[in-house]
Structure formats: C-alpha cells, structure tokens
C-alpha cells in the first residue's frame, strides 16, 4: 500500500477498454453497449448515470466477470470485485451473521476467523448485536447494510453497486450515503456506483459518467466539486445535478 497524500496518484483499478456487448444474433441482435471506455482510478468513487437502456447493469456484470464483452477488454488488474444490487438478496434461511459468512466459506476462511470478521464487519455497518437476527426481521436499510458487509466479506477492494439504494425511502437513503462514504474511506475502496438518481450520483461520486441509451455509450464525464462529506440538499450539489439532468433529458427526448 502507498501512503496517503493530499492528492494520491491514481492508477487505474478498473480499465474498461472500448467494449461492445451484443445480445443475441442476426436480426434479433441487440447492442447493449457500443464502444465504451471508462477508467476507474484506485480509490475512486465513480458514479454512473443514465436512463433506461444505457447498459448500466450489463456494464457491471462485465466488470464483475459474470459475462464477457463481445469485443474490447475489461481489466480489473487483479483486484477482487464484489457487487451489490437493488435488492439485498440475503439468504432468508440464514441469520445475518451466517449470511456474511457465506463468501468467507467460499474462500475457505476458518470458522473462528469467520466469526471474528463477522463481528468486525457488523460493527463497520453499525449492526453490532444483530448477528443472530434473520433478514426478514430487519428494515430495508439494515438489510442493505448487511448486504454491504457481505460484499466486503469477499475481501474485495472494488465494489460494484447497481442502484443499491433505489428501493429505500429518502431518509434511509440519505443516511446510507453518509455510511457508504465513511466505509469507502475507511476501507480505501474503489466504487462503481450505478444509479438513475442524478443527485445521488453527484452527492457520492468523485466523478459522474453519463451514459447514452440504446446503445450505451459514454456521453459525458463530470468531475464533481465540493468538499466531502457533501449534503444531497446543498446548493452546490443541486447546481451540478441540474447540468447533468439537462443533458440526460436531451438524451431521453432523442429517443421519442
């Protein structure tokens, strides 16, 4: 690990090089992504916004290695990648603690070590004492925090998030933004955060990448200004979000 300086030199953690993803063949073929290049620096919080059909979820699947691009390359440079979704997708038959243990069991972590790390991860997401609860006993926001702990239990330093707070109420989402930001710093994570919500993207991202729809391409990139921790209801966030939203609207009307 390098020492942290004021402006750490960022080598790319994820390098997406001119990828294309086509689903199907012949006449029924659909191009989800067409010539997309994105470079995500180590420790960067990159927010990706776009309307429906911009290939956001496809992009994350490709980075997670769940699928392969038709052409082009995805290079995660040996980083371990984990992923979170809009639904927590916890295993309902397991306790919270056992859910967090699943990725460690996959990685062959011994039992005592697993218990210790579950405690540590639960403390990180502020759910100490909830290890023996079942997912259905928790609120939606708490479940997403367990899902985050489970994703971190994979020992990943690149975290892909597919609209993780999309199904939560505004108050919970606001609190989780703070929490995610804190954990991102504490753990020096690299995050690719996909969302429909432009303000959320500006609130969280170091940089916002705007995608076009059908097919997905990079339309524009916006470096986000403003000291962290930011507030989603601050004037600075609203202004920057407005610029991006305008461009997003133009993109959406183009498909009318």
């Amino acid at each position: 690990m390098t020492t942290i300086t004021e402006t750490p030199p960022r080598t790319a953690a994820v390098e997406i090089g001119d990828i294309t993803k086509v689903f199907g063949e012949g006449g029924g073929a659909v191009t989800a992504i067409d010539g997309m290049s994105v470079s995500v620096g180590t420790g960067e919080f990159l927010a990706i916004v776009g309307a429906s059909g911009c290939g956001k979820s496809t992009l994350l699947s490709l980075v997670a290695g769940l699928d392969r691009p038709t052409t082009g390359t995805v290079d995660v440079g040996g980083h371990r990648v984990s992923m979170m979704f809009q639904e927590a997708a916890l295993f309902p038959w397991l306790t919270v603690g056992a859910n967090i243990e699943v990725p460690m069991r996959v990685n062959g972590v011994p039992r005592a070590e697993r218990k210790r790390r579950v405690d540590e991860l639960l403390a990180l997401v502020r759910l100490t004492g909830f290890a023996r609860k079942r997912p259905h006993q928790l609120s939606g926001g708490m479940r997403q925090r367990v899902a985050l702990a489970r994703a971190l239990a994979q020992d990943a330093d690149v975290l892909l998030m597919d609209e993780p707070f999309g199904a939560l109420d505004a108050m919970t989402r606001d609190i989780l933004h703070d929490e995610l930001e804190r954990i991102w710093r504490e753990r020096s994570l690299t995050i690719l955060f996909v969302t429909h919500n432009v303000r959320e993207a500006v609130r969280l991202g170091d940089r916002v990448v705007l995608l076009s729809s059908r097919p997905g391409r990079v339309l524009a990139e916006f470096p986000v200004e403003g000291e962290r921790p930011r507030r989603i209801d601050s004037a600075g966030i609203a202004e920057q979000a407005a610029v991006i939203t305008d461009q997003l609207r133009r993109e959406v009307s183009r498909h009318a």
């Binding site: 769940l66 997708a89 295993f91 038959w93 990725p103 502020r126 926001g141 994979q154």
Partner: protein, 291 residues
C-alpha cells in the same frame, strides 16, 4: 472528522433502525400464547363431539343393525382394549416399519430423479410429463403387476409405495429448484458459489419449502398405497393394520374394524400435523408468513 460528528452519525443510524423495527417482534407473551392454543383447540374438540353424536344418531336411527354398525359407545371401549394389547402394537409396528422403509426408498429415488431432471434439460423434456402423469395415477392399479413381479411379498408393497410417492417428492424438488429466486442465484454467482457449495449453501436450502410440500404429498400417496397394499397383498398372515382390517371383516367384527379405521385416521392426522409443523417453522424462519 471531529469526534462529536462521528457519534452523531452513529446515533442517527441507530435511531432510524430503532424506528424501523417493529415493536414487540419477539413474539407474544405466555398468556397470549395459551389463548391462541385454546382458540386452535376447542373447535377441534367440538367437531369431534359432533361427529360422535352424528354417528350415534345414525346408529339409533336403526338404519343398519347394530352388529354391522355399532355406535361409539361400543367401538371406543374396543379401541381402548386394542390400545392395551401387545398384538395391536405389533400390527402398528409392522405397518409403520413398512411405511417408513417405503417412504425412505421413495425419498431416495425421488431426490435422485428430481436432481437429475432439474440438472439435465433433455431429461426433463423426456420424463417431466411422465412424472406428473405418474402422480395422477391411482397407485392401486400397480398392485396386480407388482404381485406378478415380486409375488406376495413386502417388496411388492414397497414397489407400489415408491411408484406412488417418488414422483411427488421428485416434483417438489424440481419445482423448488426451478423457483429459486433469480436475485439469490445472482448473489450466489457474485460471491463465487460453485459446484457442491452452489447446491449445499444456496440451491438446496432455497428449494426446501417446496421440497417439504412434495414430501407431504408423497407421504399421503405412500400411506394410501401401503393401506391398499396391506389389504391386497396379505403376506403369510403377518399381523399388520391392513391384515387386522381384513380379519375383522371376515369375522364380522365391526367394533374392531371401526377401531382400526380410527387408528388409520389418527396416524394420518399425526403425520400431517408433523409436516405442517415442519412447513410452518420453515416459513417462520424465512419470514414468509406475517405472523
């Protein structure tokens, strides 16, 4: 970040968590539980009394002579005598041993077939509808063939039990596996679940509720096949519930006949209660029911 801010964040998170958790989620107090048990019990007791009363009324109406249709006043003492006799327990023992062995065989066959069908698409196409078809077949039609194959032996009964119960068990397992939520499968994939762990940590537990439904249905078929089998395939006058039933009929012993029918009913109810309990506790753990 200043210390006060950190504490503030923490309190905010904990406050919201406390607000969002349902109060009193730890279950009802003892008195409430007792009241619920009573609420679930008394209608059953009333129903039992009503059935006995209706039965007695039919007897009193003189529709059939009392040596053919005795009332509960004569059957229940015989039942009590039976319950005290060693012979009776021997008969129940033989029948239950057959039931458990047959069901275990059906379970083994059903699980292997169910797993194979869910794993290999061509196999599903080939025998998927056959499995459904077998489920709808009255198992009694297999007995003549089973007796040809195995003679008058216990194997003939086992053969029919397996044919009756295995399709339901296999069907429950396949649909359980088919309906594992795609979001859980995706989460498993992201976590790198593969091979044996994909099954042991994800697919099998996820399929469990439907598998239990399949087991319950399979048991019902097994129990019916067994009763039919014991009446049809009478092995060396070996004592069993079926044997006792046909003996009682031949001896015109209506009291004994009815006591054994009550026993068969009770065994059925007991096993059903067990499966319902298993089903409910699974659902409660999963948080599927609202209770």
């Amino acid at each position: 970040m200043p210390e006060a801010d950190v504490r503030d964040d923490e309190r905010r998170v904990q406050g919201l968590d406390a607000l969002e958790l349902r109060p009193g989620a730890d279950g009802p107090p003892a008195a409430e539980r007792l009241r619920r048990i009573w609420a679930a019990t008394w209608p059953k007791l009333v129903a039992a009394v009503l059935v006995l009363a209706a039965w007695q009324a039919v007897v009193w109406s003189g529709w059939r002579p009392e040596y053919v249709l005795p009332g509960p006043d004569r059957v229940l003492p015989v039942l009590a005598d039976e319950l005290a006799s060693a012979e009776f327990w021997q008969a129940v023992g033989v029948t239950m041993r057959r039931a458990v062995t047959g069901f275990a065989l059906a379970l083994a066959v059903g699980v292997v077939v169910g797993l194979a069908v869910s794993r290999f698409a061509p196999l599903r196409v080939a025998i998927g509808s056959l499995i459904t078809g077998l489920q709808t077949m009255p198992s009694i039609v297999w007995f003549p063939f089973a007796m040809l194959l195995y003679g008058i032996t216990e194997s003939a009964i086992m053969f029919v039990i397996v044919l009756g119960a295995a399709p339901s068990i296999a069907g429950g397992l396949t649909s359980g596996i088919d309906y594992v939520s795609p979001s859980l499968l995706r989460a498993g994939k992201v976590m790198g679940l593969r091979g044996v762990q994909h099954y042991s940590l994800l697919v099998i537990p996820a399929a469990l509720p439907m598998f239990v439904s399949g087991l319950k249905q399979g048991w019902a078929f097994a129990w019916r096949s067994l009763m039919a089998g014991e009446l049809l395939v009478v092995i060396n006058q070996q004592n069993s519930i079926g044997w006792a039933l046909s003996q009682a009929r031949q001896l015109n012993d209506a009291e004994r006949l009815l006591s054994y029918i009550i026993i068969v009913l009770c065994v059925g109810i007991l096993i059903d209660v067990f499966f319902n309990w298993a089903d409910r506790s699974l659902r409660r753990r999963w948080g599927v029911t609202a209770s």
